[in-house]
């Protein structure tokens, strides 16, 4: 079963929830945690496992062959992203704009834009206690998260069978990277905080999940802070609140040392156990 932890607003606790929930689940279940926030993966700050394998990932980018090109201009007509531009007697390719769709390359009458592999990032797999941890990271200077998120999902699908509980730490926001990270999961947990900002972005995230026709629920982190507007919104919209993690200075202190919180404070553990139970119930239904 696949579960994505997403948020809308950044900094609401996706990584805190992903790491703590995964480790708690792994006490009794087979779990793989995957960090899909490839632009700035940070689950690894809390999960320091033994490196088991590392793969370099590539995306395909066209390369212009001047000697065979007839400057017919087909390539730039076919590129939806203006990644291929004809400028007088030359063709310019912008790798940062290219979406690796192959249109320019396949439709070039003289094969003058062959696709070439370009390195974009790495996928590392670690073992942490009983749990597998996959960390995906874009190279510095790379601008597109989506291709690497897609390849990371493929990696996890190949390496781990359906019996695993797969937790995905998603990127923040509601744009393409989040869509790519959540589109194939069975359930999405949206983490928010009870502040005006948290509510604003939660609404966007809920709209996105509705559009994707996803099953989702909300976890309110730092509960007790701000106001009750998030709770009221969830009631009005019939959104399930799965857990409320109390706001606590002690959590911030433990977190700032790079440690897990679920086992340190009873009120916090209670909320994580509630989430665990919810997921195990879901998994049973899912298997049937």
């Amino acid at each position: 079963m696949k579960i994505a932890i997403a948020s809308g607003k950044g900094g609401t606790g996706k990584t805190t929830l992903s790491t703590n929930l995964s480790v708690l689940l792994s006490e009794t279940e087979r779990v793989v945690l995957t960090d899909l926030d490839v632009e700035e993966p940070n689950s690894g700050l809390f999960i320091k496992g033994d490196l088991k394998s590392e793969e370099i990932k590539y995306k395909m980018i066209p390369e212009w062959k001047e000697d065979t090109c007839t400057l017919c201009g087909e390539c730039q007509k076919n590129c939806n992203f203006h990644a291929v531009i004809q400028l007088g007697p030359q063709i310019m390719v912008f790798p940062e704009l290219c979406h690796s769709c192959f249109a320019c390359s396949e439709l070039c009458p003289t094969n003058s834009l062959p696709m070439q592999a370009q390195r974009m990032g790495t996928i590392k797999e670690y073992q942490y206690r009983q749990m597998a941890f996959v960390e995906s990271c874009l190279d510095i200077g790379q601008e597109q998260a989506v291709p690497l998120i897609g390849q990371t999902n493929e990696y996890v699908n190949q390496k781990f069978d359906e019996d695993y509980i797969m937790i995905f730490d998603a990127p923040p926001g509601t744009s393409c990277p989040v869509i790519e990270a959540t589109k194939d999961v069975d359930y999405v947990i949206l983490v928010t905080e009870p502040t005006p900002f948290g509510l604003h972005d939660l609404k966007l995230a809920v709209e996105t999940m509705k559009e994707l026709k996803k099953d989702y629920g909300v976890v309110i982190n730092r509960y007790g802070l701000g106001n009750d507007d998030v709770i009221d919104y969830c009631k009005e919209e019939n959104v399930t609140v799965l857990a409320k993690i109390p706001n606590s200075r002690k959590v911030a202190e433990i977190y700032s040392k790079g440690k897990l919180i679920y086992n340190e404070i009873p009120e916090i553990k209670e909320q994580f156990l509630k989430l665990k139970e919810f997921i195990l119930t879901r998994k049973k239904e899912f298997v049937q």
């Binding site: 203006h82 912008f94 940062e96």
Partner: protein, 112 residues
């Protein structure tokens, strides 16, 4: 020489558009022939990606040698403009086209 402006309208009194790639209009003044033309660039709103290179390419096709704009082109656009041999002058975002032209003539705009 052809001088291109990014603008929100089609004549000398129009406000400059501070944006380059997503400018609403491109105005081209030929200071030798003393001709003034406007080109509608509003189609660019439908483009999610690559507005900079696309508008740069338009300037190349229009034969502009100088660009006068506001905020300045981004990285991809700048690469195309450089290849196309277009010199860019920025900082005219708050002016109208007439004022921007004067400022350019008086060397008051910063070369990008």
């Amino acid at each position: 020489m052809k001088i291109a402006f990014t603008a929100k309208g089609t004549d000398w009194d129009s406000q400059m558009d501070p944006r380059f790639g997503r400018t609403e209009y491109i105005l081209v003044y030929d200071d030798e022939k003393e001709t003034f033309e406007s080109f509608d660039n509003r189609d660019i709103e439908n483009e999610a990606h690559g507005a900079g290179p696309k508008t740069s390419q338009k300037l190349f096709e229009l034969g502009a040698q100088v660009l006068i704009t506001g905020n300045g082109p981004g990285g991809n656009a700048a690469t195309v403009l450089q290849k196309a041999g277009v010199k860019s002058f920025i900082g005219a975002g708050g002016m109208n086209v007439k004022e921007a032209y004067k400022a350019y003539k008086n060397n008051e705009l910063k070369e990008f």
